[in-house]
């Protein structure tokens, strides 16, 4: 079997598993108490003195031209302190999606701002819209389809010629939104020429320049911007920018000389603040009788909004890449809000379009899908992970064991004799997750206090906690002894939270800083303990000469610093073996029940097995997987952007009809992190360094749950989410399975 390549370990590598003090254990969040008691203040919670409330006027039409716009009445409306026109608020402007921002108003109370919005006169010439992302023929006829050249590898025709069987199917995954619980927006406060933007963001260090530049272009005399974000209610890839409404809030605050809070309404949040591109595909797979995939041919269509786009075919077929492939993409321009990066961009869609087709192929051969997947492990993509095949093989076994595959799995359509059928489905995924650049400044004070500063952010994932643990591990202190300062752009620059790069970045920089600070402390302490610095260790709140009882407790040790703290600035620029790494794989299995008389799918159980390298906080790591699986259940079963052809509206842009699963819809989730006891793979995984985890576990649920439903009812429900109408339609249509 393949093993992980031996590489020279970084001098900052984490201690080996047996020597770890706190990392790898379950630690509750250091800010958990503030969140649960409401002491944590999110951007939308802030109410500085003299605050003005911002509201937006947006377009109700998907495609229209403005023929008249008059804001005089809004300006005169009671309590109004400022009116801001966005770029499209002009006669002649073409509006190309519903929710397009036109005017912002700031007033003394939210109700006054809403009254002023209602007083704005706008007239539109309504133009013909196209909002149907699935109807490729209609889009062609409407001139909304752009056919791209096919990408090929190998010889597709020869591949199909050597196939024993050719499987064809149609699959689809519609647009969904990020639906952040805290909507996009900010509270903007000026002090002279300096702006502080309390922005709900996953990009603290990267957004100040956007404010400064945007305001300069509006002729605002601005010296600097500081972005502050202590807590964030979800971003998922949609909150990297100041956004036009951020600039509007800052502008209105500047003009009024008072703070302005402007958070998007739920409807606008769903309509314009980002979504995940849709993908539909006709797929053809060539297989040998033993299950080997030898050829793949797919025609894709979908959208990212008015610019066309859709799911990148770069990740299709997903992970399993036969020698001979052809993919063609048709990009459809729709009058819908634009896409933004959505947790693991392209991967959930690629997985849902590929591994469903693979499971159909396995069913056509009468093969157990695990056997089918294993048969094709030699063609898995190794770009992220040289030992991917070994990892998947191991994970498939662990996941099968946890779900009780041998007892619970049955051939397709044999899910029980009554109305309610049970089924199992599998999928697997891959992600990079290497560290982003991160700098931090760490101080050890003479009084024993330890604090770190970095312009990173905790987007709800537990970043503050893992920073504290990384430092605590290095200095021999508990996590709650470390003061973690993030969420201010005046701190050292640290990357935006995208691509599952944060945990590597911030643990890398803080580990390095803590190691360097420890060196300085040891140099001070060593003479007192009659030892050399390299004989010392920091464990359990003590500095000790290794193997002796000569020691100082932490405060005695830091007391030797005199009046000046130790201050260390460190940057982590890229992965270093044993410290941070990239490339993870995971396997997930869904167990569902389907009521064939109502079409309703219920989750029974869900197993997620994940390799993730060195784990800092096992609890927040497991929580990431739980959250991802729940988000995956949402897009697999309930969640979709419904565009209404009659009005061009995102007709379910509210929290009743934009259906997200409730607690009772989740079922039991079992998370298994690859650990040293998982054998050869586990040991190596555990030693290679920290790898990001935020995205990978959200990739598989669409395919896994779709496969489980097909296994239960005997037919494929081609398009996600697997709503009761789609399930009943598939049952009615029947199938060849």
């Amino acid at each position: 079997m393949a093993t992980f390549q031996e590489q020279e370990r970084s001098e900052y590598a984490w201690p080996s598993a047996k020597d770890r003090q706190i990392i790898g254990q379950r630690t509750t969040r250091i800010d958990g108490i503030y969140k649960t008691t409401g002491e944590a203040k999110y951007s939308s919670d802030l109410n500085p003195a003299d605050l003005l409330h911002g509201r937006l006027l947006t377009s109700p039409y998907a495609h229209a031209r403005i023929t008249k716009i008059n804001v005089d009445a809004a300006k005169k409306s009671k309590g109004v302190q400022g009116v801001y026109l966005f770029a499209d608020a002009a006669v002649g402007s073409e509006i190309r999606w519903q929710g397009r921002e036109l005017v912002a108003v700031a007033a003394d109370t939210p109700e006054q701002a809403e009254d002023a919005i209602a007083a704005i006169e706008v007239e539109y010439e309504v133009l013909e819209h196209w909002v149907d992302e699935a109807d490729v023929e209609g889009a062609r006829a409407a001139g909304r389809a752009n056919e791209n050249e096919a990408q090929t590898a190998g010889d597709v025709d020869a591949g199909f010629a050597q196939a024993d069987k050719i499987i064809e199917g149609h699959y689809g995954i519609p647009t969904i939104t990020h639906c952040c619980w805290e909507t996009h927006g900010s509270t903007c406060v000026w002090d002279g020429r300096s702006l502080t933007a309390y922005l709900s963001t996953q990009n603290v260090s990267g957004t100040p320049g956007q404010f400064t530049n945007g305001l300069t272009m509006k002729d605002v005399d601005i010296e600097s911007t500081e972005v502050v974000c202590q807590y964030e209610g979800g971003g998922f890839g949609s909150k990297f920018a100041a956004d036009t409404w951020g600039i509007a809030a800052a502008y209105l605050a500047h003009e009024a000389g008072r703070p302005v809070k402007l958070m998007l309404s739920r409807a606008t949040e769903l309509q314009v603040a980002g979504n995940r591109p849709s993908g539909y595909a006709e797929v053809k797979i060539g297989i040998k009788n033993d299950g080997k995939m030898v050829a793949w041919d797919s025609v894709h269509w979908g959208t990212s909004g008015v610019g066309g786009g859709g799911v990148s075919t770069g990740v299709t077929p997903y992970i399993f890449t036969p020698e001979n492939t052809r993919r063609q993409q048709i990009s459809i321009s729709t009058n819908t809000g634009g896409a933004r990066a959505w947790r693991a961009p392209n991967h959930p869609q690629g997985c849902a379009l590929t591994q469903t087709a693979m499971e159909d192929a396995a069913a056509a051969l009468g093969m157990d899908p695990i056997a089918f997947f294993k048969k094709n492990l030699d063609i898995v993509d190794r770009a992220q992970h040289p030992d991917a095949a070994t990892v998947y093989a191991k994970e498939l076994d662990i996941a099968a064991d946890l779900i009780g595959w041998d007892q619970r799995w049955h051939p397709r359509g044999q899910g029980g004799g009554g109305a309610v059928k049970q089924g199992l489905g599998i999928a697997l995924h891959s992600w990079g997750g290497g560290a982003h650049p991160s700098s931090c400044m760490l101080k050890i004070r003479p009084d024993g206090g330890v604090e770190t500063y970095l312009g990173s952010q905790d987007i709800g994932t537990g970043t503050k906690t893992i920073i504290a643990m990384a430092i605590g591990e290095t200095l021999g202190l508990p996590a709650d002894a470390i003061k973690v300062n993030v969420g201010r752009s005046s701190y050292p620059v640290s990357g935006g939270s995208g691509g599952s790069t944060t945990v590597g970045g911030v643990s890398g920089s803080n580990r390095k800083a803590a190691v360097e600070a420890r060196k300085e402390l040891f140099a001070k302490v060593a003479p007192r303990l009659n030892a050399s610095a390299d004989q010392l260790e920091a464990r359990n709140g003590e500095i000790r000469v290794q193997g002796t009882d000569r020691k100082l407790d932490w405060k005695q040790a830091t007391g030797l610093l005199g009046v000046q703290p130790i201050e260390v600035m460190q940057t982590h620029r890229g992965d270093e073996p044993g410290l941070t790494a990239r490339g993870v794989g995971g396997v997930q299995i869904a167990d569902v029940s389907v009521d064939t008389e109502t079409g309703i799918v219920r989750m029974n159980k869900y197993v997620a097995v994940q390799d993730v390298g060195t784990i800092i906080d096992l609890l927040t790591a497991e929580s990431q997987v739980h959250g991802a699986v729940i988000m995956g259940i949402a897009f697999a079963l309930t969640e979709e952007q419904i565009m209404d052809n009659a009005t061009g509206r995102f007709i379910n842009s509210d929290m009743v009809n934009y259906k997200l699963p409730r607690l009772g819809d989740i079922g039991e989730i079992i998370v298994h992190m690859i650990q040293p006891e998982d054998g050869e793979v586990g040991r190596a995984e555990h030693d290679r360094g920290v790898v990001g985890l935020g995205e990978p576990p959200v990739i598989s649920p669409g395919a896994a749950i779709s496969n489980a439903v097909a296994n239960a009812i005997g037919v494929r429900v081609p398009t996600l989410p697997l709503t009761p109408d789609r399930v009943l339609a598939a049952l009615e249509k029947g199938g060849d399975a």
């Binding site: 109502t598 009005t647 007709i651 009743v656 259906k659």
Partner: protein, 333 residues
């Protein structure tokens, strides 16, 4: 939300006097779970909000010889307390199905019956019938959640009440008051299908209110509700049915079957009920009643699936009433 005047009457006559005779001028505030979102979206823009929460006579919850008297302000959670619904499992199951904790604790029975339709065209400002000029948006557009029965006129929304089918199956009555009037009528006749935008989904005039619900004794009737609902939390059923049966010596003597969420009003299926008379309740007779209940369905372009759901809801409500469907779908294997 548009600014409004606020009034807080303490008795029924004061309340009636505060209500205007013009549509949309006043709104009644009970639990507010529906009204607040309608006002926030400016679908409802009353000048005066009449808060009835201090009208004590609306808080009754009293078993009497004529049946159970329920004041309109009784919260859904209060209905589940104690054993007041012991004879009425159909109502109990409907209330229990409302899994939103907020709606159950704040929402009232009066509000549950008077909540406005969930139709997304209505909620997006196109009026109760979802008209855009001459166009019927539910007819032309996305009607996946719209009516499959009683949809020959311009009204295509579905009645959103979850208690109404159960209460109608149990022959519940409602008391209505207005200026110089007081009336008690069967709940079945409370709901109407509007023919134009000047009408609403019930018989109330702008200056009238529903004050009480009376459920007559049901000791000789078994009854149950079955809802087909996608989410186990805040969500409305896609189809539902309530059944009330009088069974003697294993044979159905009397039956009432009411469907919910399939038509602009709760939908009484006399044919389905009639088909059970003289029959034992079995999987077959229940299935047949289900088939009959949707025999006249006229689904729109994309809600045909609701026919199958309604059929199943009727079948399972009958089986559940007869004690042949323990615990709902999960055990119905």
């Amino acid at each position: 939300m548009k600014s409004f005047a606020y009034a807080r009457p303490t008795n029924e006559s004061e309340t009636v006097n505060l209500l205007g005779s013009k549509w949309g001028h006043t709104a009644l505030l009970a639990g507010g779970t529906d009204l607040m979102s309608l006002m926030q979206n400016r679908v409802s823009t009353p000048e005066v909000l009449v808060d009835i929460n201090h009208v004590e006579s609306l808080k009754t919850l009293q078993p009497t010889d004529e049946g159970l008297v329920i004041g309109a302000l009784t919260s859904l959670d209060d209905l589940l307390d104690g054993e007041v619904l012991e004879q009425f499992p159909a109502v109990n199951q409907a209330v229990d199905g409302i899994q939103s904790i907020q709606i159950r604790s704040r929402g009232t029975i009066g509000g549950e019956l008077c909540q406005r339709p969930r139709c997304w065209y209505f909620r997006n400002g196109y009026g109760l019938l979802g008209r855009d000029g001459e166009r019927s948006l539910p007819l032309e557009g996305d009607n996946r959640y719209h009516a499959i029965l009683g949809n020959q006129g311009p009204a295509l929304f579905v009645s959103p009440s979850r208690l109404a089918p159960a209460l109608i199956a149990l022959n519940a009555q409602v008391r209505i008051i207005g200026p110089d009037m007081e009336d008690v009528l069967p709940l079945e006749y409370f709901f109407v299908t509007p023919r134009n935008e000047t009408q609403t989904e019930n018989v109330l005039l702008p200056n009238q209110l529903l004050t009480h619900v009376l459920i007559p004794p049901a000791d000789n009737y078994v009854n149950a509700t079955y809802e087909v609902v996608q989410l186990q939390g805040l969500d409305w059923p896609l189809a539902a049915a309530s059944a009330s049966l009088k069974i003697e010596n294993g044979i159905v003597q009397e039956a009432k079957i009411v469907l919910g969420h399939v038509a602009p009003t709760p939908w009484v299926s006399s044919d389905a009920a009639q088909s059970l008379i003289g029959q034992p309740v079995t999987e077959e007779t229940a299935q047949s009643a289900g088939d009959i209940s949707v025999a006249t369905a006229t689904p729109l372009s994309r809600n045909g699936y609701k026919v199958q759901m309604a059929r199943t809801a009727v079948k399972r409500a009958i089986l559940r009433a007869a004690g042949l469907l323990e615990g709902g779908q999960e055990s119905h294997v």
